[in-house]
């Protein structure tokens, strides 16, 4: 166990933004809230996976809903208080540790913000190793941990416990509840004991995000920094020529066009960047993490912040191994997003 330093928050946020693969939301507001929570509250301890035991009750936490809403209706952490009451009644014991649901994007900071207020430690890990659009796209799902019961809470003190017979149904029920709660609410699901967590989570996520962030914030040339900190590869750099959004299958699908020396690269996204290709040649694809880093500022840019004229460097970072298994690919591989790839050639359904 070691204490998390407030001074590391900026670097952590940077690394989490890159791991978000364009999704997960810009963490700049959560960063402020977490810093305030840590300044005003208790110190935050990080637990390594080895320190967990069967007696632990681990709660994965996240905010669900529109990142836009948390830019206006600022999160407080108090949304989780009614959830924790419900969990204790349900489990017959109190939670002993928190874990980030996803390390990609602003949700990575959620357990730290909560920990400073509740006095619970945070496990160094998460359930995705990046960000994805749906709540069932987790390592726990692949490893047989059930998502239900899931718990939702809002800042006015309302809370809901959801029991679904399948994770896909849980996703739909939670989305509907989130809209009713103002399109942003607190979420806890995939509750585990310590032994289950050791089998099912992705370990070391906080440490990895921190080292990526330190590399981005440092002086090493950006391509080297990304290669060294997360094994990523540089694909190309250029200027953002067009950003298009359209509605498809209930999701806001986007396409960004990057004008580079190797040609026009198209980046497809559903919040998260999922596919990069140039004239039907695949350059990077889910589950690998795709990063668009501003060439001047070295900041990873989220899909909701893409703007015409930005000068960006495109990178591909290998995903956690679990996503490359057969079960993993079924959940989050190209086919799961309707990208049909045959020998690196592309057909989009």
């Amino acid at each position: 166990m070691h204490q998390f330093q407030i001074d590391d928050l900026n670097d952590l946020a940077l690394g989490c933004t890159l791991l978000g693969s364009g999704g997960g939301g810009d963490p700049r507001y959560e960063l402020i809230m977490t810093r305030c929570a840590m300044e005003q509250g208790k110190s935050v301890n990080i637990l390594s996976i080895d320190e967990l035991s069967k007696d632990d009750l681990i709660i994965p936490v996240a905010y669900m809903g529109a990142p836009l809403v948390s830019l206006e209706k600022l999160p407080t952490g108090r949304e989780f208080l009614p959830i924790f009451d419900m969990i204790e009644k349900h489990a017959g014991r109190a939670p002993t540790a928190l874990i980030a649901f996803e390390i990609g994007g602003s949700n990575a900071l959620c357990p730290l913000m909560l920990a400073a207020q509740l006095g619970l430690p945070v496990v160094d890990g998460d359930l995705l190793g990046r960000a994805f659009p749906k709540v069932y796209m987790t390592s726990c799902e692949v490893n047989g941990i059930t998502a239900s019961p899931a718990f939702l809470g809002d800042v006015m003190g309302n809370s809901v416990q959801v029991q679904a017979n399948h994770s896909f149904a849980l996703e739909n029920l939670c989305r509907a509840m989130t809209v009713e709660m103002g399109s942003s609410c607190a979420l806890a699901l995939y509750l585990m004991d310590g032994e289950q967590a050791k089998q099912a989570i992705i370990s070391g996520s906080i440490s990895q995000a921190l080292s990526i962030g330190r590399a981005l914030a440092g002086n090493v040339p950006i391509q080297e920094a990304v290669v060294q900190s997360c094994g990523g590869s540089f694909i190309a750099q250029g200027m953002l020529m067009d950003v298009q959004q359209e509605v498809k299958d209930g999701f806001l699908m986007g396409k960004a066009l990057l004008e580079t020396q190797v040609g026009t690269i198209c980046i497809d996204y559903q919040n998260e960047y999922l596919l990069a290709y140039c004239e039907n040649q695949v350059l990077a694809v889910t589950p690998d993490i795709i990063a668009l880093i501003d060439t001047e500022s070295r900041l990873p840019i989220t899909s909701d912040n893409l703007k015409y004229g930005m000068r960006l460097s495109l990178f591909s970072i290998p995903s956690p191994a679990i996503w490359k298994t057969e079960a993993g690919l079924k959940l989050v591989g190209p086919e799961a997003f309707n990208y049909h790839i045959n020998h690196e050639n592309l057909r989009i359904a």
Partner: protein
């Protein structure tokens, strides 16, 4: 002289100097002048206008407009002076306790500006439902508490007020009943878009700046009267277009980056290039910008002033602490960041003072000469040349960053300090256009009128919705007096809101056009 000739005056009121140009209908500069900015503002303003009118020998009735830009509001924030103390009323029924007002602000501004903050019932959800309803007695109590804490100005910020302004307006009515109809109020929904923290910052700074604009600027109308000028007095706002002086006094935050905008546009028009990098070297700082298609490129990243995050569009500017009055260390050759600023005529070595400035260094290097100097600077020519080399490198590096690899762009040098660095030292594309020292006043004279259509709409029928907004933006520019065939779209920003029902997006379309004065 053609009896049908009409003229305009462009003015820039800077921290050090007030510059003026008088231009004819073909935008030719007939007369120009530079006078020291006076503490009361209007004396320098009067002298500058009088001088150009007399030099050009034009009858006042032939002057059709006075167009003004100023860095006054910017300087007040940077220096933390002449600002009202602001009380903040947050309409947020969910009580965001993890975000104190003014978090991350420089201490100087927190101490000078923030009187207090009261968070009370109110606010909206993203779909227009209320978070909690307003409570009138609670609003009364909160306002009285802020007044007790010394608030001279109130900023009202409601959660999701850009989607529904009614709560902010209702709270403002109560404030007017309590404090009087003329008490300074800033309503956040009039000033910024989605993004509570940045919009709150904007509303607070606006409230603080109402002091500096009401001092000295209200008298400007009287100056025009005294000079028999019966024409409109307008002021440039952040995007280089015009608002009335009265609007600028009510919404001073809108004028914040008009200074660089004017000098970038002025430089571009003096040189005739539609695409160029502009380097504006002043007394204390150098601003570098990029004009594309005749407009300064907007910053694509978060904008800020004085270390405070804001969220309205501003031109992309790289600012270097490098100017004519910058102090140069006689041992290391380090330039700035301190500067003697407007005291250069007393403090620089060349004028008998003790400070070694960049101005003195340019004299010692030999490429630059000036009348009225009292003594030669004490440094060697070699040392001086080295320092100038360093200054040139800083500028060249920033120009490279700003142009993003674009080669062959003309690089236009403007501002009073531009004479100090010869284009030969800097590189083949560097030019010093005619009238370079008054480029900012010229830019003000050229300011166009803009129309804005700004709305949160559904993207379900993207093309239809956009067409409709484009038409509104054209009509808005025409309403401001723009000539129909000069109106064009200068910016489209589409911000989609993820995961919100109906695929909502904020769309902002800006048009611009020339006004026939």
């Amino acid at each position: 002289m053609n009896a049908q000739s009409f003229y305009r005056i462009g003015i820039d009121i800077g921290g050090t100097n007030t510059d003026a140009v008088l231009v004819d209908n073909s935008d030719k500069i007939i007369a120009s002048t530079k006078v020291p900015t006076t503490p009361d503002i209007h004396s320098g303003f009067k002298e500058a206008i009088k001088t150009v009118i007399e030099t050009a020998q034009i009858a006042p009735r032939n002057i059709k407009a006075v167009l003004m830009g100023t860095t006054h509001a910017t300087n007040a924030i940077l220096q933390g002076r002449d600002l009202y103390r602001v009380g903040v009323l947050r309409l947020s029924g969910h009580h965001p306790h993890l975000f104190p007002v003014g978090y991350g602000w420089p201490k100087l501004l927190v101490d000078n500006i923030l009187a207090g903050c009261e968070t009370i019932n109110g606010g909206f959800e993203c779909d227009g439902r209320v978070i909690t309803t307003l409570d009138t007695p609670e609003i009364h109590n909160a306002l009285e508490k802020l007044a007790y804490q010394g608030a001279e100005s109130i900023a009202i910020v409601g959660t999701f007020s850009p989607i529904d302004p009614t709560q902010e307006i209702e709270a403002a009515e109560i404030a007017k009943d309590l404090f009087g109809a003329h008490f300074p109020l800033s309503l956040s929904h009039e000033l910024g878009a989605i993004g509570f923290i940045e919009r709150e910052n904007t509303a607070i700074l606006n409230g603080a700046l109402k002091n500096v604009m009401s001092k000295g600027f209200k008298e400007l109308y009287a100056v025009l009267d005294a000079l028999s000028l019966k024409c409109p007095l307008t002021i440039t706002q952040n995007n280089g277009s015009l608002i009335s002086l009265q609007r600028a006094i009510n919404y001073p935050i809108l004028t914040i980056s008009a200074g660089p905008t004017n000098s970038f546009i002025g430089a571009m028009r003096l040189s005739g290039a539609d695409d160029a990098i502009v380097v504006d070297i002043g007394g204390t700082s150098t601003d570098i910008g990029y004009v594309q298609n005749g407009f300064p490129r907007r910053s694509l990243n978060a904008t800020s002033i004085g270390g405070i995050q804001l969220n309205f569009p501003m031109p992309d500017v790289i600012s270097l602490a490098l100017g004519g009055g910058s102090l140069v260390c006689p041992l290391s050759g380090k330039i700035g960041p301190q500067s003697v600023g407007k005291d250069i005529l007393s403090k620089a070595q060349a004028f008998g003072g003790n400070s070694l400035t960049l101005f003195d260094t340019a004299l010692a290097a030999g490429d630059f000469s000036c009348a009225n100097i009292h003594q030669l600077p004490t440094i060697s020519k070699e040392f001086a040349c080295d320092v100038l080399s360093t200054a040139c490198k800083q500028i060249q590096d920033s120009v490279a960053l700003m142009s993003g690899g674009q080669k062959n762009l003309p690089i236009l040098m403007v501002g009073g300090g531009s004479e100090l660095l010869s284009p030969d030292l800097l590189g083949q594309y560097y030019q010093l256009p005619q009238h370079f020292s008054v480029a900012n006043a010229y830019g003000a004279a050229l300011a166009e009128v803009t129309g804005v259509a700004n709305k949160v709409i559904s993207l379900n029928n993207r093309e239809t919705a956009l067409e409709s907004l484009k038409t509104q933006a054209y009509e808005a520019a025409a309403k401001e007096g723009a000539l129909q065939d000069t109106i064009r779209i200068v910016d489209i920003q589409i911000t989609p809101y993820h995961y919100v029902p109906n695929h909502m997006a904020r769309v902002s379309i800006v048009t611009a056009g020339r006004k026939q004065w």
